[in-house]
Symmetry: C2
Amino acid sequence: MRDFSNDHLWLSINTATVRMQRGQPWGLAQILDACAARGIRAVSPWRDQVAAAGLAATARQLRALGLELSGYCRGGMFTHAGGTAGAAMRDDNRRALDEACELGAPCLVLVVGGLPGALAGKPVHKNLAGARAQVAEGIAWLLDEARARRMPLAIEPLHPMYAADRACINSLEQALDLCDALDPAGGGALGVAVDLYHVWWDPKLAAQIARAGRERLLAFHVCDWLVPTRDLLNDRGMMGDGVIDIRAARALVEAAGYGGYSEAEIFSALDWWQRDGGEVLDTCIERHRRCV
Amino acid sequence: MRDFSNDHLWLSINTATVRMQRGQPWGLAQILDACAARGIRAVSPWRDQVAAAGLAATARQLRALGLELSGYCRGGMFTHAGGTAGAAMRDDNRRALDEACELGAPCLVLVVGGLPGALAGKPVHKNLAGARAQVAEGIAWLLDEARARRMPLAIEPLHPMYAADRACINSLEQALDLCDALDPAGGGALGVAVDLYHVWWDPKLAAQIARAGRERLLAFHVCDWLVPTRDLLNDRGMMGDGVIDIRAARALVEAAGYGGYSEAEIFSALDWWQRDGGEVLDTCIERHRRCV
């Protein structure tokens, strides 16, 4: 297992972590500069941030700063109510792939979608199995597009509390079953993003990480689970402030062959988004060394 | 599958559903009277409500009203930090069993506990696997006590969002694995309480309900998952107001042999606890007929 205690060579910052400082969005250019200034070597930006900063400008800035990506957030949202929504979903995912390529991402992270309409508070049906079938179809389609661009797809299982509105892939086992069904030969085109916030509770976590192995483990995200958790979406904890045994989990992914970045992704409306962005990044570095 | 549309013979009311009307606790005696007056045949009371009303008085009232129990809430909370806490846990669970016997409950429902101290916001460690081992030990011990009293134990898997602080048994598969390990011969002494709020998201739900079968299916709880969900604990929905396909799930448990009550258990600080208790019960009856 790699020793992270003396440096932060393997820390990546998911840019959502410092996107809403005191309710005032930090622009992506500012985030990239602040990361590079601290010797952080990698980031994982969100598409809306890239769109606001400009795709070409972001690619240029990343190269100029020597920053690489640990992933690109995100494609997916495959579930839809039919009609023209399917075509719009496909167009959007193609654009996500093209952007990931231009930015040199190692993978496009997929948040697959929940029940159609649920994210807007208006679910159009209650057929979760049907939504899951639509997700499988969507990933099968996108995988061809992704292979043509040599861009790996990382399915991110989301915590079961997001099954209705954000992602109906809710365990590592379910994600890996889908990988095996759609990409039986393996080889790296399709895998998973292991975000501990979503999977830390899973009694099958160790077994499924071992099953995933090096080829399917495309990304590793960390933050912490707070007790109590005051909000379902935006009350994630800084590494070390909650109950997740992060180091034990990193030992599992490393034993399975993962040797990439540990990406800090902290949605925290009540705490970290209320602080200075530099303080947040400095804390991520310190906690990466001590708790990851 | 039974037809519930014309009556409410198989509706049970978990008494937490009407326990905090407008912040003013309804006493258990009042709840039992209100249920009986509406032709509701069963309830599932909580231990603190029984303690406040008096155990013997509650048993007498139940008999006088002809009300039966669909379960007794609850035993468990097996995880502890050692010292005298283990003995206190055992004493408390013995008392829960004795109360369940006196009230004529068909089973004692077990909420098994999370990380020691986490419910009070002070987790004493992060060893979830260790907590799970402590739970297995605790149930193994309690099962002997329960067999001696002929009182079945129903392990209730809780939603993964409660893994840290309330219960580290988080899927039906995990609960059934434990049943099979501790009670390999079956026969009804140990089984599960299937609460749809906790398990509706599970991609293995149908398979695990089928696996459970009649002997392990000791209780069936319903409410609904709202989108958005505004609170992790007390924002459950009335049946029909959320995204759970309750009738499809009831079809699964009935196909597996379950023929007992459908217990409405709705923790709703923001909505149903703000209404008149009679309105809540009337709505449960109407939704039981239409949505369960």
